[in-house]
Symmetry: C2
Subunit: 202 residues, 2 copies
């Protein structure tokens, strides 16, 4: 990591990561080979090992980082500003659209299944992303509390956690079945129940 990279080097490195991400999405983690990545990114094997000396796992880890950042970025600006019911609905739309477009490829899921529990870094990436995601949702709930839309004694963390789980579950089922009905149902129901919590205290 401490290796010096020139401007050209940095460009090549990110070209590799982004190209690898594409290949992984298309071919799937199991089928994707270094040669596929070389072909896609117009690089040679020595370049791959120049930028990722440890080999494939290191590259996959870099791709995982890239994809994890992408997940949250794609939900902006709404995820960062959930301070009205309108914002929540718009966030909902973005999430559903994003995952419907993604279809049945799960870059992150398959990635960390491959390197998964074997390496410590992989789990940290996913955990960190989920944590930031949930924090944003929790901030949104708190914003609604501040706006008087939700009671102050609401269990914010549990709500945020179950909303996050709703999205994850919907995506998970989308990946399995190819249909987004569950994602829609889960997110809609989650927001609806949150809304109802503002009307009937409990």
């Amino acid at each position: 990591m401490g290796t010096k990279l020139t401007a050209k080097g940095r460009a090549t490195r990110s070209r590799i990561v982004e190209g690898a991400a594409e290949v992984l999405r298309e071919r799937g983690i199991a089928a994707a080979t270094l040669d596929d990545i070389m072909a896609r990114t117009s690089t040679s094997k020595s370049q791959l090992f120049h930028y990722f000396p440890t080999g494939k796992d290191e590259l996959l880890l870099a791709v995982a980082r890239f994809e994890a950042d992408q997940v949250l970025e794609d939900q902006q600006p709404y995820l960062g500003r959930l301070d009205s019911w309108e914002a929540w609905e718009q966030w909902r739309d973005v999430v559903i659209e994003r995952y419907e477009k993604q279809g049945d490829t799960c870059p992150l899921g398959s990635l960390f299944l491959q390197i998964g529990r074997s390496t410590p870094g992989a789990r940290a990436i996913v955990t960190g992303m989920l944590h930031r995601w949930q924090e944003s949702l929790a901030a949104g709930v708190r914003a609604l509390q501040a706006a008087g839309e939700l009671p102050a004694d609401l269990d914010v963390e549990t709500r945020a956690a179950s909303l996050l789980a709703a999205v994850q579950g919907g995506v998970s089922i989308l990946l399995s079945t190819g249909r987004s009905a569950h994602l829609r149902a889960a997110v809609d129901q989650g927001i609806a129940d949150l809304r109802r919590a503002g009307q009937a205290p409990g």
Copy 2:
């Protein structure tokens, strides 16, 4: 499939499937090899290809079927009789216990990620299991309606779908992080919101 199997043959075949399931859970799908399975089940390569002529994918498919059945079986008898709030709570306990015990290994998820969209049969297995699961949940909600615990105009399918997504999401996060907090939060919240729907109509 139409091949004749003697009692001995059937025994060997299921020994292979169950042993393979163990190996896949331990090693993970990516690392598990036919040799691992041979070692675990005390079989030879010719046996593997005798019972699964097409090769590895056919074996993995059989394991997927086995695991899918297991998932639903493990939730019985509660999942089949969700006609009171007590039954729902007991089902909740069983689900959480089951997945906490399973930990961060996801036999089904990884299995169909490997063969996934490539083969048509794989998706059918998961889809079928999810469908039966959701049907049981929907039946439970209807039972509560019949018992007067829930209003008759409740959208049963959406509730069932989002409950299923809640479980899936919780499990998915459990797999990623190793912590079951989200599973608990999502299922508890889901049941709590269902309960509240019985008090404040909407």
